[in-house]
């Protein structure tokens, strides 16, 4: 475990020093402020109520989960793999006393931690903004709903991250990976609309699975089924991506 721990700390340090986290935080903050400004404009201009303080973070999440969160996850994942392949810096760690499996797992863990930090940041700031601008109906139940929604969103994002990791180990160029990811994302979104009865099998439809956790009638069976689908995705993608990573010559 010592090798994994060292690799994980190193990966987190690299992430932090490349300022990706700070950029993600600034863009997320701008996103939240813009969202709140739009609601304020709608409220004062059209006399529509908009959202309550606890609904605002969930509104932000519904937009973020389909836009900037996948975007930043893609950028960080591509940078962590394709970026290091092209800059030849992958060999710095591979020639150290750590197995490729531990190194690979540490890289993926650091991406997951980044997604979690990004989600936490958006959650905290959207909640604060929600309290400041929509000072009504703030309850403990509302806070729990926000917390659960943001926390469970991590799971579908791990699937997206692992799809990108697999692509980075197949395609040489980071730009190709980025565009193929966008194409896959759009294709799956389209398939989800056309074949709506099978949409629960597509990872893009699973991005909204947090809604299952906050409905008035929670279906444990449905949550379990979707969780197992995502877990299966994760296991298959991790295995496939690691197989390619392990066979790679540097």
């Amino acid at each position: 475990m010592a090798g994994f721990k060292a690799a994980l700390i190193n990966e987190l340090e690299k992430l932090y020093r490349k300022k990706k986290v700070i950029v993600a935080a600034i863009v997320s903050l701008m996103f939240i402020i813009l969202g709140q400004l739009s609601i304020t404009v709608i409220r004062s201009g059209f006399g529509i109520r908009g959202v309550s303080s606890t609904e605002f973070p969930l509104l932000v999440l519904s937009v973020v989960v389909n836009t900037i969160l996948p975007l930043f996850t893609a950028l960080v994942t591509i940078d962590s793999f394709s970026g290091e392949f092209s800059h030849n810096t992958m060999k710095i760690t591979i020639t150290r006393p750590v197995t490729r499996l531990k190194f690979f797992a540490a890289k993926i863990s650091s991406i997951f931690i980044f997604v979690l930090i990004n989600l936490t940041f958006v959650m905290i700031f959207s909640t604060i903004v929600g309290i400041i601008f929509n000072s009504n109906s703030f309850t403990l139940q509302g806070i729990i709903r926000i917390l659960v929604s943001y926390l469970v969103t991590l799971i579908p994002m791990t699937v997206l991250a692992l799809i990108i990791v697999l692509l980075t180990n197949i395609l040489n160029s980071g730009i190709s990976v980025f565009f193929v990811t966008i194409l896959i994302f759009l294709l799956f979104k389209g398939l989800g609309i056309i074949f709506s009865s099978y949409s629960s099998l597509l990872f893009t439809s699973l991005l909204d699975w947090y809604k299952l956790w906050i409905t008035s009638n929670i279906s444990i069976l449905k949550i379990f089924r979707q969780f197992m689908i995502m877990l299966s995705y994760d296991i298959l993608l991790f295995t496939g991506a690691y197989y390619l990573f392990d066979k790679k010559d540097f």
Binding site: G3, A6, A7, I9, N10, E13, K14, R17, K18, H87, N88, T89, K91, I92, I94, T95, R96, P97, V98, T99, R100, K247, D249, F250
Partner: protein
Amino acid sequence: MEKVIEIKNLSKVYKNGRGIRDISLDIHRGEIFGFLGPNGAGKTTAMKIMTGLVTPDSGDVKILGHSILENFEGAMEKVGCIIETAESYPYLTAFENLRQFARYYKDVDSKRIEEVLEITGILKYKNEKPKKFSLGMKQRLGIAAAILSKPEVVILDEPLNGLDVEGMIHMRNIIKDLAEKEKTTFFISSHLIHDVELTCTSIGILYDGKMLNVDTTDNILKNYVSLENYFISEVERNGRI
């Protein structure tokens, strides 16, 4: 003498037909082994296999008794290396780069990091980022990273690339000093034949992916005027030059 590196029937052939074929070699503790060969002979391929960057088609390498295929962590625990180019993260300072490497070893602290920066002559640049470094400075940082953990085995592929004359002499002295005092074993490839002659205690010649001969530098220099003559004669015997 104790065998530190054991290479057994190592083969790796790329799609273009280049690579190495059935190489076997033993390196003993405290030796400074020079790996000589023309461009494309397979030196870097062999060194990449030894450090886990490339998987061999067949054969194995044991470092300090640990197979790189079966116990990679054990094999690399006491190894430092530079393969092809001394890479570093351009967005981290020299010190932070070495701290990244240090986390993989038990007893490497900030004091040791400063010590290796001092040894390689770049201590005053410790807070600068390598993207501003010259090739020679990057190479010095690479050497600092290679010797950071006080390794028992150091594998260096063209370690003198980009160094000026002063730098070359400095590095040669570091290598000789570590081999003599710490009994560190070196496995070095270089195209600078004169430097190999001055630094290495034994020489192996690789030609067209095959190991032609291995001998001590003293023995070679008893029979030949210089290492260059020996190299030409060995390669000639095998049908080139």
